[in-house]
């Protein structure tokens, strides 16, 4: 049986003096050593707060947090030792004044790693993030993407037992983001590093995570907030549907009754220009307007379509151009009944209106 990296029980955490009331509440969370856990949720869900707790940079106000079977807060020295095992790379990383070498060497220096080991480690870490030979370059003046990669290299050079990444590919261009994902994945597997990363991107979470933890308003929720709908299921024996809004049906396979919640993977939804005959007819075609359009990674765009219901759709950039999709344009979204995943009965859940 694998070692437990983190065991959290009845954790409560609130920021003191914060004007916005927020509390993270986690009743139980276990993360096995060597696992890769994805934290998914909208802004303000508590992903970064949880990462701060896991990085031992903030102490829970209530509950128990064990780090590799020990209480990391039992004494100052112990806290520092534990913190040296878990390194957090923040969403907007801070680089110290000085060179890139100085930045990466900082963690090695405080760990008292012999200076002779610094250059090869720093070189290796920079090569991993595809910034070879930049050791002597000043850290100021790097692009956001480069800064994020340097911050990742700074963490990798320390070879921590736990790597905590807050939206690690957010500022990185598409192709490189995939390579960074591959590096993180490889490190997790080869060095048995425990990785916890946050993302807004459901597909990235599915691709990388051994497990996915969905968060909303500081609490664990059993589903993704992307394309999540609920309603009372009805069936005619052949197919079933829910009506998240009166007169708007989402049809799914199989017979169900009672209150159900379903999610639709954004990658399984197709997008068409309004009036495009290719959209065809059939179940689950919804009209709306593009209310958000953003590039994510791997030449994909995330499109939000708002009509009777709001959908998030992941579309290849080429298709965006081919369909002439732009903000406020009327479009159609379509998905098959098989794309609708029923995730359980949640009487209290309502249609997600988060963004």
């Amino acid at each position: 049986m694998r070692e437990t990296a983190y065991a959290l029980e009845r954790i409560r955490f609130a920021y003191s003096g914060s004007p916005v009331p927020f509390q993270l509440e986690l009743d139980l969370l276990r993360i096995s050593a060597g696992d890769m856990l994805a934290l998914v949720g909208p802004n303000g869900a508590g992903k970064t707060t949880l990462l701060l707790l896991l990085a031992l940079l903030a102490r829970p106000s209530q509950g128990r947090l064990e780090f590799f079977g020990e209480d990391p807060w039992a004494g100052d020295e112990k806290a520092v030792r534990a913190r040296r095992e878990a390194v957090l790379v923040t969403h907007h990383p801070y680089l110290f004044k000085g060179t890139i070498f100085d930045n990466i060497a900082f963690g090695l220096k405080v760990r008292r790693i012999p200076e002779a080991e610094w250059p090869p480690r720093i070189k290796e870490a920079l090569s991993l993030v595809e910034l070879p030979g930049l050791e002597r370059k000043p850290a100021s003046g790097l692009s956001a993407g480069q800064a994020q990669r340097v911050a990742l290299a700074r963490a990798l050079a320390l070879r921590p037992r736990v790597l905590l990444l807050d939206e690690p590919t957010a500022n990185i261009e598409a192709g490189l983001a995939l390579r960074i994902e591959a590096i993180v994945h490889e490190i997790c597997r080869k060095a048995e590093t425990t990785v916890v990363f946050s993302t807004h991107n459901f597909s990235q979470a599915s691709r990388l995570g051994d497990e996915i933890l969905y968060l909303s308003d500081g609490r664990r929720v059993p589903f993704s907030h992307e394309n999540c709908f609920s309603g009372t299921a009805e069936t005619d024996g052949r197919q079933s549907w829910i009506e998240p809004r009166p007169g708007i049906r989402i049809i799914f396979e199989g017979a169900r009754t009672g209150h159900v919640t379903c999610v639709i993977n954004p990658e399984k939804i197709r997008l068409f220009a309004a009036g495009d005959p290719a959209a065809g007819d059939g179940p689950n075609i919804f009209a709306g307007r593009v209310t958000r359009l953003e590039m994510t990674e791997a030449d994909l765009a995330l499109v939000r379509v708002s009509g009777g219901l709001t959908f998030r759709v992941t579309v290849p950039l080429m298709e965006i151009e081919a369909q002439g999709v732009s903000l406020s344009r009327p479009v159609l979204v379509r998905f098959g009944p098989e794309a609708v995943e029923i995730i359980g009965s949640e009487p209290e859940l309502r249609e997600n209106t988060h963004d």
Binding site: G17, A55, L57, D76, V80, R83, R84, A86, V87, L88, T90, H92, P93, Y94, F96, K97, F106, G107, V110, R111, R154, A155, L158
Partner: protein, 214 residues
């Protein structure tokens, strides 16, 4: 004023004010670090008092320490009045709020992520504090140099606590006051120019030293 006296006055100015700047910095920078990194009840009041203290006239501080260090004062038994030590003590209290204020502003401007980054990279709280100081080093240096400039150019404390004793506590500013009182205005102006050149030289040296380390 003979050259020997002039050199001695310059030496006394540099020694007393340099020491005052050093001692005040050692007290003020940790205090500013604490103020910048901690929220506590009454912090605004502390900052307000500090700002008010910055405006304290040198003669008021001189008078205060005169009453403390004078023979009949509570610290009279140490016999510090009319010594360079008394001048340094007075100057420390003169420039302490200035260095605290400037350092506080400098440290508040350091990105809050600097400390967090240092901690997550494995620094202890003390090491993280050093990182914050290092990130603000240029602005902190300006604070220290401003403190030194204020100390070296003041005359009230040096006159009241030093007594302007030739070859003992006479520094450049009290020498200027004396020359002016004697009607030797040209000497006074020349001494003033020397003071400015010395301050310029120190500023240039320190800044060049820092640049070479960058």
């Amino acid at each position: 004023m003979i050259v020997h006296d002039l050199l001695l006055a310059i030496g006394i100015s540099l020694k007393t004010s340099g020491l005052a700047a050093l001692i005040a910095s050692l007290l003020a920078i940790p205090a500013a670090l604490y103020l910048a990194g901690t929220d506590f009840r009454g912090k605004r009041v502390v900052l307000l008092i500090n700002q008010t203290w910055m405006a304290a006239p040198t003669v008021v501080i001189g008078l205060l320490f005169y009453s403390l260090l004078g023979r009949s004062g509570p610290l009279g038994r140490f016999g510090l009045l009319y010594t360079q030590t008394a001048m340094t003590i007075g100057q420390v209290f003169l420039i302490l709020p200035l260095i605290i204020g400037f350092s506080y502003t400098a440290l508040r401007q350091v990105d809050r992520r600097a400390r967090l980054t240092a901690l997550t990279l494995g620094a202890s709280r003390r090491q993280a504090g050093w990182v914050v100081l290092r990130e603000a080093r240029f602005a902190l240096l300006v604070a220290v140099l401003a403190g030194f400039a204020r100390a070296v150019s003041e005359v009230g404390i040096a006159m009241m606590l030093g007594g302007n004793i030739r070859n003992a506590t006479r520094n450049i500013t009290t020498a200027i006051a004396l020359e002016t009182a004697k009607g030797e205005f040209s000497n006074g102006v020349a001494l003033g120019a020397i003071l400015l050149v010395i301050t310029l030289g120190i500023n240039a040296l320190v800044q060049a030293g820092l640049r070479s380390k960058e």
